[in-house]
């Protein structure tokens, strides 16, 4: 019941914002107001008894509350950063619809319904790639993204139907259990753009605005992965099949994604690609959580998912702010950026600490636990090292920022921001807009710093992350939060 106000705001105002997309300021104002209202509504979501709607059931949970709250707050901060740098038309509306789909997926009891909701909501992110004037290139990328989205959804629907039906427990062919598990895990890998499904994901980084990347590549796929994890834990694991071959394949996808994703992020010069591949690399850990197929992986996978979405939002916001502040997104042209913009430098350090983690932090522990559950022996050490390789690309970005600025865009940046006052916006709201307009780079940097602080808090286990991650998904006949973490 507590989820319904959030869903009403997300779909109602998000839809209105997208419908008025042609009128930039109106759409943005509606969308930002909607995000603020959705933040309030998300704060009131709580674990409750499922509400029956048309033979289906929906309920709030601590995980849904934190996931959606983080989504709304980071969405607002990304709006602020984008408003001060490069606005992306339709971003607030798409964020609202995407989070609405995620909220519905997290609240629905039935897996098949949740998959349909997660797939439908994620479609809004594709609209971000179609900012006018639409280029043939962005059309091709958006078409590929739509294809990946629907194929993954169809795979998930078929897999969930095969294993969750009334005959599954007594008559299901054991070999088909493995096939269904593999199909759903592959669907998650496709949604995250995991290797070998990464080519379309790399093109998404070209076509989508930086601030839209977290929605398309992290938030919506994370909701889908949460549904997959709940299905694997609730429907596949109790059937007690060994599934060695299938688990091995999923494990290989996760391990290769972790290692090669970080390597790709390290070698790319373009900030968008660095962000895109860093999202892909960290998503590999989620796939390892599915490969573990162990109830013990439930809490660490969901902890990692929360840290993942918060951290990648901050990283994408940082890239957008840096690119717009200095007018280039090529790292080779950004020597000395941290000297000219120390706030962004501090933000990157915080983002790196949140992403890589330190012993004792929730995200760090979750990652080590998942690797430990997924593999044995020396592979554990290898995978931990591969997972920590993200330090290399964060270090490269920071090292470039600490060098002396060369004769490029960084050196040409003015010392003081331009100030202007538009007489047409001399109202109370206009004063606020004018204030942001006058100090765009510091406002963007401040928003990124706030995003980095949230990412750090989530990775550290603050904001109730551990309790939310340990909570059970909603189910009919049982309270949503009956589980006590060990």
């Amino acid at each position: 019941m507590s989820l319904l106000p959030f869903l009403a705001v997300a779909f109602g105002i998000g839809g209105l914002s997208l419908l008025t997309r042609g009128q930039g300021r109106t759409s943005a104002t509606i969308g930002i107001a909607g995000l603020a209202m959705a933040t309030l509504a998300a704060a009131f979501i709580g674990p409750d008894q499922p509400l029956t709607v048309a033979d289906g059931a929906i309920a709030g949970s601590a995980f849904a509350r934190l996931f959606l709250l983080l989504g709304c707050v980071t969405g607002l901060l990304l709006c602020l950063a984008a408003g001060a740098t490069t606005w992306s038309r339709g971003f607030p509306g798409a964020t609202l619809i995407g989070l609405g789909g995620a909220g519905l997926a997290l609240g629905l009891v039935d897996t098949g319904t949740a998959i349909a909701a997660a797939t439908a909501g994620a479609g809004a992110g594709i609209l971000l790639m179609l900012a006018r004037p639409v280029s043939p290139r962005s059309l091709v990328v958006a078409a590929r993204e739509l294809r990946a989205l629907v194929v993954a959804g169809a795979l998930g629907l078929a897999a969930a139907a095969a294993v969750a039906g009334p005959l599954a427990a007594v008559r299901l062919n054991p070999e088909l259990i493995g096939l269904a598990y593999l199909a759903f895990a592959t669907a998650v890998a496709i949604r995250f753009g995991a290797i070998p499904f990464h080519l379309w994901a790399a093109r998404v980084a070209d076509a989508a605005p930086e601030i839209g990347l977290p929605l398309v590549m992290a938030w919506c796929p994370a909701a889908f992965a949460t549904v997959a994890l709940a299905w694997a834990d609730g429907a596949v694991a109790p059937l007690a099949q060994p599934l060695s071959l299938e688990r091995g394949l999923v494990l290989a996808i996760g391990a290769v994604t972790v290692a090669l994703g970080a390597a790709a992020a390290f070698v790319h010069d373009d900030l968008e690609h660095v962000v895109g591949y860093s999202i892909v690399a960290d998503a590999g850990i989620v796939i390892l959580g599915l490969a573990a197929l162990d109830p013990a992986a439930w809490e660490p996978t969901r902890t990692w998912l929360l840290a993942f979405v918060a951290g990648k939002s901050a990283f994408a916001g940082w890239a957008a702010a840096l690119g717009s502040t200095f007018g280039t997104r090529k790292l080779s042209e950004l020597r000395g950026w941290a000297r000219r913009s120390p706030i962004l430098g501090i933000a990157l350090v915080a983002i790196a600490v949140a992403a890589v983690g330190l012993p004792g932090m929730a995200a760090f522990g979750a990652r080590v636990s998942l690797i430990d559950l997924a593999v044995d022996g020396p592979l554990v050490t290898l995978l931990v090292v591969a997972a920590l390789a993200s330090l290399a690309y964060y270090g490269r970005l920071l090292a470039a920022g600490l060098l002396a600025p060369g004769a490029g865009p960084v050196a040409a940046a003015p010392d003081a921001p331009t100030r202007y006052r538009d007489p047409l916006t001399a109202t109370l709201l206009g004063d606020a807009i004018a204030a942001i307009s006058a100090r765009r780079a510091p406002v963007a940097a401040g928003a990124v710093l706030a995003l980095a602080a949230i990412a750090l808090a989530v990775a550290g286990g603050g904001l109730g992350v551990r309790e939310a991650a340990a909570s059970l998904p909603p189910s009919v006949g049982a309270p949503a939060e009956s589980f006590s973490p060990p």
Partner: protein, 249 residues
Amino acid sequence: MNLALGLVAVVVVAGGVIATASRDPRAAILGLTLAGVAAPLVADPLPEALPLAARFVGAILGGYLLWVSIRGQPSTRGSRLGWPVEALLAAAAGVAGFGTIGIVFPGLAADVLVGRADVVAPREALAAGFATGALAIGPIFAGRDVLRLGTGLVLAVLAAQLARTGLAGSPSGLEQVITAGLVVSVSGIAATLAVGAVESGSGLEPSAAARPAAGPAASELPPIEPDEDGGFLGRFRPRSAGRRSLPGR
């Protein structure tokens, strides 16, 4: 076998064949709409009135969005194999789907024959799901035409939902409503892509004229122009004269 369900399943598949094989975009959309309207009826028990109405509205609205988007487009790529091949492919897949229940749930088919068990889910739905899924493969993986791609994707959604009905029984009313939303969502995005493709002057087939993977250097790019509609705060304009932005931003 339930004859009425079988007939409705044939209607779904026929709609799918028209949608994938026709070169006339309007005929293709009508076929898709027919498949979308008939698909929820391949269920036992049938959905209740309101969820069924939601599926009808979803299918018709999805078809309408596609219809509006291709206004003025004389033709779509259609199937290179022709409708007889598509129909035979669908028929073969349908037969395979009808018999699949014996593989998924071994022993069940024999139990049903000797009267020891009832089939809890309609096999006709599984057959229609397999047939529709087979029809969707071509447009999805070889469809450069955005209308054809959209057609394939909607058919994939219908196929997954039919397979779900065939394996796990009739979906709940809530699932029917959300499936209707999914059909509208996929059709709407496909329609937006089609409008974009037509506006960009490439017909329904946007060319993949690739932008360099890493993006050009800042010095190679044209100067930033002020944003037309201004967005929230107007587009950010770098303050130094020499700075540039990437295209498409």
